[in-house]
Symmetry: C2
Subunit: 329 residues, 2 copies
DNA sequence: TTGTATGCGTTATCAT
DNA sequence: ATGATAACGCATACAA
């Protein structure tokens, strides 16, 4: 007995149009077919409301036109904007996107990779936190912000340059005693280079600097105490602060203002990321801007091998500075 | 000649283990298989690094364990947070998610729906702006924020209640002359009911109210002029303003402060959405909070038919009020 | 309980 | 140029 209530197949179309299966396939895929046949097939397709089954196609051709993106979450504006751009790039290439949010969970990351391997995705873009993530040989993989060995290209902002730029900017703006505030000490990824870049910048511009690096999970309170300890007679010892992210900067600015310290008059603050979700409406702070769209484009380009071969596995894209009300000028 | 460099299949595993194809299938799917066989199969799977081909599975079983989400973009925090929650709900059900960003483009929305139909997704969740979107009969569809007819369930915040709540809150806080500011007049969707709810609240609490509703694409400047026109001798005629979104509220607050009007002392402002991306760090404004997580859960529940049948096609979830510094108290 | 055989919808390789 | 037919990898009904 014939299956009822099921979508029509090429076979049904062929029967309806009175032609052979292969002919229908050719029409569907735009291969040359003579007029009387072509027309009959197209009529039958319309009449039956036929749709190709991409699953059967992918099954046959081993190409799924699907790329997966692994990100921790979409809460963080950096992640959501990055996801947005990657999605648009894929869309332009008529490619589907599997979204996988991992919540920084290494096991979940690995689980997802296995699932994606089963799903025969054409490629994976991963912003992951599992230092020993096993990525399958057969699937093109591009990493963001973490170098995963010589065979896997890694795309990141030039975090070192960003740190250096922050120090230089603070120096240019008249600071002499600066601080670097950072969370998430344990990870060995590209954003860690912000510290080295900042140090380098401080040294070359002869700035006095201190650093406070929080362990994983430590609350922001420690920043508050650190800042309070460096205030004497209502004046802050620091006149410039570089924060590892805009989020930290946002917290620090609040704390400083609560301590009656004026930003930017007494202390200038620079963050990192530079996301502007409300257009130009919401500059949280002056910031080092990550080129999110370019990161997305580069990942896709690498995945589709649109770049000349033999490139270095680490691509650091240049950052820029944006004024946002927490520095002078 | 045998294909080289291709992933091993069940057949390869069967040969390696010296058992029949069906036995391998059973082991893979967790069906009962006696010990000596089971062990041999598992060994062979490990040895060959075999992975099931989900595409072949889906092709065979007509279930893809994939749901698609249509949203305009991920710039807007409401959309990105909604996407986040939907993704997590799907993850809990071991279901993949296709992300489709449409940029409010009706043609693109329709194009995506067709593509998803081809892809045999198990369901579609759509936050769409195409009033005449054609959704296929065969695929479960849940709409967010827009009613699409009797056969398609729609999930939304209780926008009417939200508007009413805003009016009542302003009344409670001592306002007497209030305004409603809104963009995007043309659409016929659930968020439109914020206006009616607000009006209703104003009438029942005897507030004087005015409304300014911008046409699609009109710049926010018009809000600025409207506000400026209602200022005399440095005092605002309005003492309370309800904005259709937090984004509009954010703009309005800035404008008011530029006009030397104090918020919340002179004018109290309430927005809509209540997204807090930086945790509790960033209250942009007092706001009516959409229950984003509950919206996500409800959509998934409807898709998986986890609710008792016969429910109404429109589900309005209750909203709440949150204080954010732009109202008194 | 295990093995065998068939078919899912499509593409591709053949003859015609 | 078109039509018949054989894979693709897996699940399953059925036979052993």
């Amino acid at each position: 007995m014939k299956k009822v209530n099921s979508s029509p197949t090429m076979k049904d179309v062929a029967r309806e149009a009175g032609v052979a299966l292969g002919t229908v396939s050719k029409v569907v895929n735009g291969l040359p077919v003579r007029e009387p046949y072509k027309h009959k097939v197209e009529d039958a397709i319309r009449k039956l409301d036929y749709h190709v089954n991409s699953y059967a196609q992918g099954f046959k051709s081993n190409r799924t036109d699907t790329v997966a993106l692994l990100v921790p979450n979409l809460w963080d504006p950096f992640f959501s904007i990055l996801t947005h751009h990657i999605n648009r790039e894929l869309q332009a290439r008529r490619c589907r996107m599997f979204l996988c949010t991992t919540d920084f969970n290494p096991d979940l990351e690995q689980e997802y990779v296995t699932m994606l391997q089963n799903n025969k995705v054409d490629g994976i873009i991963g912003l992951t936190y599992n230092p020993q993530l096993e990525v399958p040989e057969g699937i093109p993989f591009v990493s963001i912000d973490r170098s995963m060995g010589p065979h896997i290209p890694c795309v990141a902002s030039d975090n070192f340059q960003g740190g250096q730029m922050a120090a230089e900017k603070l120096a240019d703006l008249g600071c002499t005693n600066v601080a670097f505030l950072r969370t998430g000490s344990s990870l060995n990824n590209e954003p860690n280079k912000r510290k080295a870049g900042f140090e380098n910048g401080c040294l070359s511009r002869k700035l006095n600097y201190e650093m406070l690096i929080l362990d994983d999970g430590e609350p922001y309170d420690k920043f508050d105490r650190f800042l309070a300890e460096h205030i004497e007679c209502g004046r802050s010892y620091f006149d410039g602060i570089f924060c590892v992210t805009d989020k930290v900067a946002y917290h620090v600015i609040k704390t400083l203002r609560n301590l009656q310290i004026k930003v930017p008059e007494d202390v200038q603050v620079i963050g990192f990321d530079g996301i502007r979700q409300l257009g130009d409406l919401d500059p949280v702070c002056s910031s080092i801007v990550q080129p999110v769209e370019e990161i997305a484009q580069t990942c896709i380009g690498l995945l589709f091998r649109e770049f000349p071969p033999g490139r270095l596995p680490l691509i650091c894209l240049p950052v820029t500075y944006t004024y946002g009300g927490t520095t002078r000028e």
